[in-house]
Symmetry: C2
Subunit: 389 residues, 2 copies
């Protein structure tokens, strides 16, 4: 186990009818709120109205900025920063899923910063200050509600880049599983892939002696595998929606990273895909992760066999552990397909035309590598895209 530092300061307020508490919570952090959200679904569902009521009851002023899209864009972030400065906003409330929260985080760090907010995403500046951020979560997937990171896409060149800093963790997250009832099946499935990917990026590690966090990862993956089909079958099943929602937070708040190095190659490889083709991040992950696994599993067959046995209940083949390992990858792929996700580029209608371009972008034209479980070059990444065809 490696040395580590960990805290989970984000206050989670979880369960039925909790959205009414948002005004009181927000009041601890400011008086002029940017209310940030995506499309019309939070209006249609009635959530936005309830939130506005709660803010008004707490005596808070707010200014709205909607229109966040999946793979949230730099241009809207910049608009938000201008708005916050102009309106003397002192705190942000994000109502939505990971895209809205990531966009809000970007606005939060960009508002007090003199330079271009994209500097943070290019690694040219360090985050030292942010507007405080509260969240009402409506899509369990990204884990951004308690994570320290944000991913933004710059339209010019379709560059998708992450930044992370503990100051960026939301102050609180209100999570009522009932607001996830209306998620379309495809979005529920994409969320499942995202959650599982967050765990698997941490699970496949070269760090030795991480038995405890391994077991937490395995338990979380089994929860998703069991509960997501139930939620797809009955979208208003509170029990399964609640399990998925809470698991999504723990999958990405860094508890499962404690004492171990993560890989994160698949996320980077996927970012080029959804950056260019604008497919859902979860759908990109369901394509890339099995391909990555097939490419790297011989690096540590025992870990992949463990994954197969502990997560998927595969019987261990003592004579041929590699068969067990491959069976685990196969089961993951079958699971993704069974919940309606693409598991190949062809499934997503993507051909081989731009694989070279993506492999080049993912490695800065071969100047950097990706991954730590296995270090991947531009050539390796191209091979993984090809495996995913």
């Amino acid at each position: 186990m490696d040395n580590f530092r960990f805290a989970m300061p984000t206050k989670i307020i979880f369960g039925k009818d909790t959205e009414g508490e948002v005004g009181e919570e927000m009041r601890r952090w400011g008086s002029r709120v940017l209310l940030h959200y995506g499309g019309g679904s939070v209006v249609r569902s009635g959530l936005k109205g309830k939130v506005e009521q709660s803010l008004a009851q707490a005596g808070l002023d707010f200014v709205e900025l909607g229109g966040v899209k999946p793979n949230p864009r730099l241009s809207l972030v910049k608009e938000g920063i201008e708005l916050c400065r102009r309106e003397n906003i002192d705190c942000i409330l994000a109502v939505g899923g990971g895209s809205v929260i990531d966009s809000a985080k970007a606005i939060g760090i960009g508002t007090p910063y003199d330079g271009d907010v994209w500097d943070f995403y290019e690694g040219k500046a360090e985050v030292t200050e942010t507007l405080p951020l509260g969240v009402i979560l409506t899509i369990p997937a990204a884990g951004s509600e308690a994570s320290n990171s944000s991913v933004i896409t710059k339209e010019e060149g379709w560059l998708k880049r992450p930044v992370g800093n503990d100051l960026m963790r939301p102050k609180f997250a209100v999570m009522n599983p009932e607001w996830t009832y209306s998620l379309p099946p495809y979005q529920t499935a994409c969320g499942a892939a995202d959650i599982m990917a967050h765990v698997m990026e941490r699970y496949f590690t070269n760090t030795k002696d991480v038995d405890f966090t391994d077991r937490l990862c395995e338990g979380l993956l089994r929860t998703i595998i069991k509960q997501v089909p139930l939620a797809l079958e009955n979208p208003e099943d509170y029990a399964s929606r609640a399990e998925i929602m809470w698991a999504s937070t723990i999958a990405h708040n860094d508890l499962l990273s404690t004492g171990r190095q993560g890989d994160w190659a698949s996320h980077q490889i996927e970012h080029e895909l959804s950056g260019i083709y604008d497919i859902a991040h979860g759908a990109g992950l369901s394509i890339i992760f099995p391909a990555w696994m097939k490419y790297v599993y011989t690096h540590d067959t025992a870990r992949f066999a463990r994954f197969a046995v502990r997560v998927w209940g595969v019987e261990y083949d003592f004579d041929h552990p590699e068969r067990t390992a491959l069976e685990g990858i196969e089961r993951l792929e079958q699971f993704f397909a069974s919940i309606g996700l693409p598991v190949s580029l062809a499934d997503a209608g993507i051909d081989s035309n731009r694989l070279d371009e993506m492999a080049a972008k993912c490695t800065d034209d071969g100047r950097r590598t990706q991954g730590s479980f296995v270090t991947l070059s531009q050539e390796d990444i191209l091979a993984i895209y090809q495996l995913a065809l």
Copy 2:
């Protein structure tokens, strides 16, 4: 799943050589430190010297109060409160295990309080203020380093009582597994029983649809079952000491309580035992928990069968689930015995003389019950003590 609120604000600083960071961390919280500890082991091990050096380097003044005993006493707490007031102490550093931390928490809430600190433990006053507390953990067991609770024993009548409030969570906890190498085998084993009990108190619940936290509980228990024998065999095995130490924190920081009601009867039943006989809390738990299980398992045979299968790897008996349930309890008892813990009152040299007295104290002479998985009367508790003979 029930509604819940959760945060884990305690900053964990985990790993080798981390004790040198304590001065810098402490400086965020005050300038005059009460250095609180137990016996001579932290002196002999050299840890106290390192801590003093780190505090001095950070420019902090400190006053010492040693002498905390297992089942920490109210009289020393009162001495600490007087000392803090006299010396204008503004923060506390606890170096030790659960007893030292619980004692420090009591001093922390007692110092700014006008009345008798025991009021908090009797439920006569609510905690609204505390001195900030930092921890250097040397015994993984109680989980007090990130928990919101403290248990103190009042010598007059040997009353052992808990109090809990989120203000009481330590600000940071420095955890270097190397400082646990010198723990005697018996104390390592008592710690294991305490950690497992914290999980089992949460695991045996009537709350339905808690699949995710069930799995986290099961993973944590399996970690302890695997790692504790390794640490006993090789006390300087960093890997197993680290797994045990991190698991002990997560066992009791309330992550495993999220959305579910805990039981806690066994802890209360044990408190009377270690209150009167002054045996180690962990040893009391290894006696009481199996007896409690035998008394209550028919209330939810399926949950006990799950415990047997998922935690102990027992093969499920589809024709006779109750046999599976009982086999799980048997395995727990065998495990405790295998690591050198008592599993009956006789093992601890305790006879039947004071069972009535303990059952009466535990229920305030029958005026209150214990437990929520099964509600236990004075009579039930007496029966559990008798089962433990």
